[in-house]
Symmetry: C2
Subunit: 408 residues, 2 copies
């Protein structure tokens, strides 16, 4: 039965459909299913005791509880913003709390960037494949995309200049352990990216949810740092053309829905105006809890634990792939993060394989949906953070069976 609403959807809803990944969740809940589909952190590393102590501490303190349960400022809880500024400065990004805006998860940060910057028809430069959540957020603002292919060193800088010439509104990158591919952009390419962005006057959004989850190799400076250095050399300190964003989802817990944007102060002001209309402010209680848990040095120690657990899981997946995958199947070797990327022989269709995999009780995300202009039908994203090493081995064994059957 139709209601009056059905004929009244806005034009921007035309391209909007449910995320392949969110819909996958329903399948994944089947008993016995081993899912490499979602981007779930391991619940085993949630700091439950520390969350519990933080809640007690806040709620047993009348002054704190009064503030934690009340409306708060749109920009976020000041001690939390100051802590994020301090942590960020360690990576060479020279900022204060005034450059930090707290968001209700990174997804809100992406939505907010869309609201503040994207006119219908604006072109955004993205890697192909790129993070699905960004496409979902920006499709609602009727963005178009200029795509640049990536290889095992991330976005192909030899194709970047041509794309920048087309005048994108901004460039969106995930330089560390990219979602979905798991690859990391090396320093040399980062320098080229910053120089080309400078040359063509295109600002950069750098999304870095996994930056602290490196399991091997050396830390590489964020694009935002390189950008800031260039500006500094030109005598324009603190006027970088990059916006940096990160999240507590992978280093504390995604159930908090807590993330942040780092940007020039003028931009923070505009983003905060948009956020007022979006949710007034992010839950004060959640911000107080995250601050209590993360402060006093706990977060750094906790990240070491996460790295240890996820490194084991990544290694388990790499070993299992080596053991179970038929010839002709390739995959990335991520130095960190939560995902790796499998490429099947040309002509294979991961969407078709998905149904067979589900029958064998193993799930993945097929790669096509990460490509704004299509392609990648023979690719899939595998998550290695959620399942323990034994389950990973069993799941990859099942997947190997499906692939061997299909590639016969």
């Amino acid at each position: 039965m139709q209601t009056l609403w059905e004929s009244r959807y806005a034009q921007r809803m035309k391209g909007m459909k449910s995320s392949a990944i969110r819909d996958l969740l329903k399948v994944v809940e089947q008993p016995g299913m081993i899912s490499f589909g979602g981007g779930y952190p391991a619940p085993e590393v949630f700091p439950v005791k520390e969350f519990s102590e933080a809640c007690q501490k806040i709620l047993s303190d009348p002054a704190k509880s009064k503030l934690a349960l009340q409306y708060g400022g749109t920009e976020g809880y000041l001690p939390l913003r100051e802590m994020i500024a301090r942590h960020t400065n360690r990576f060479g990004i020279n900022i204060t709390a005034q450059n930090v805006l707290i968001t209700s998860g990174s997804q809100q940060a992406l939505d907010m960037l869309g609201k503040v910057f994207i006119n219908p028809g604006d072109h955004i430069l993205v890697e192909s494949p790129t993070y699905l959540g960004a496409l979902q957020a920006w499709n609602a603002y009727q963005a178009e995309y200029i795509t640049v292919n990536s290889d095992d060193k991330g976005i192909k800088t030899d194709e970047l200049e041509e794309a920048l010439r087309r005048g994108p509104k901004f460039m969106y990158l995930l330089p560390n352990f990219q979602n979905p591919t798991g690859v990391t952009i090396p320093l040399e390419r980062r320098k080229i990216i910053v120089e080309l962005a400078e040359k063509y006057g295109v600002p950069i959004v750098e999304d870095d949810p996994y930056g602290q989850l490196r399991y091997e190799g050396e830390h590489i400076p964020p694009v935002s740092v390189l950008d800031d250095i260039i500006r500094h050399e030109q005598g324009n300190a603190n006027t970088g053309n990059a916006i940096y964003m990160s999240t507590f989802s992978k280093i504390l817990a995604p159930g908090l829905r807590l993330a942040w944007i780092i940007a020039p102060v003028n931009v923070i002001t505009r983003l905060a105006q948009a956020k007022q209309g979006m949710d007034l402010n992010t839950s004060s209680f959640i911000q107080f809890v995250a601050y209590e848990v993360a402060s006093g040095g706990f977060l750094d120690e906790h990240i070491k634990l996460i790295r240890k657990v996820y490194r084991e899981r990544r290694d388990a997946m790499l070993d299992s792939l080596e053991e179970h995958m038929p010839d002709g199947v390739r995959w990335t070797h991520p130095e960190g993060g939560l995902f790796l990327w499998v490429t099947l022989p040309e002509g294979c269709n991961a969407n078709d394989l998905f149904k067979k995999a589900i029958e064998q009780k193993v799930a993945f995300v097929s790669g096509e949906s990460f490509h704004p202009h299509g392609g990648g039908e023979n690719t899939m994203r595998l998550n290695f953070s959620f399942q323990n090493p034994e389950t990973i081995n069993e799941g990859i064994s099942r997947l190997g069976k499906v692939l061997r059957e299909a590639l016969k």
Copy 2:
């Protein structure tokens, strides 16, 4: 120093400015200030002990904590949605959990309705004055407004038909203890509204944050119920043309940022698609905590306490106004909610008076900003929930002094 971002703001940002109320917060933090400005609940009625117990219960249960700290479904935590459906059915709205979408505060619900329904230039029918947060959310979608004046019985139904003829996308109403005026639309007018909406095929968004906070008089059925009854009589049950929304902000705590939308299932599906791109899901932890606190009958008992405290404060404000206001000043007598509305003699300007009031350490929100097409320069909104009766009396005494001086 300009960055590349400054020249790149989207067109929709042109009309976006910071909310008068949010900016007011900075003034209000001055020592000794008595603020009737914000819409803050009284921190004295936050159920702090129950929150603390709920956090303990969830975080000491491995199965619960694992889910509460993880990503969740976009529509919300099912037991919470079921509880909201049960509570709502008591008011005669015949729904299930499938009709309920959890949002990150009512502000997100408004933003989401804008995203899903409003094309640039679409006209939304609102009361004048109306809730500022709705205007802020919808201005970002470049909405235009058709305004209908209100009196001490809410929206003037004798002006409504003319406005409906102009073909608004939908009509937005706060029938109970409206923000900002505090007035309630009587049953007779509600019936007329539903009949006229039906006649002109215009759907209704009913915003009801304060519905349970009635201090005198009889409960009046929501517009959504009346709408549903009409549809039922026509044999089209469950296809009502109203969307209903409410929140935990005023009955538990605004620091949760937790609210809900009730709509036809088809609409919920589209809203959830939009929400995926906005914040994936509302904090699972917050939803678990709210469910623990609200379930088992506590919420009903707690609302009785809130009603008692706020009734005293409303009465204190009405008594103080009677005592301290000079002749020619009028105000509403709200039967519930958090606000009352003061009308000064014609020619007085509340914005000018605001500066004088701040000097006397008392704050309010001037009424002009609640009018999408201007007007209301001689009006102001006073909140009576946040301050205790003694402070209310002192604040109104200060305000009376300012007004007597100004009206000389």
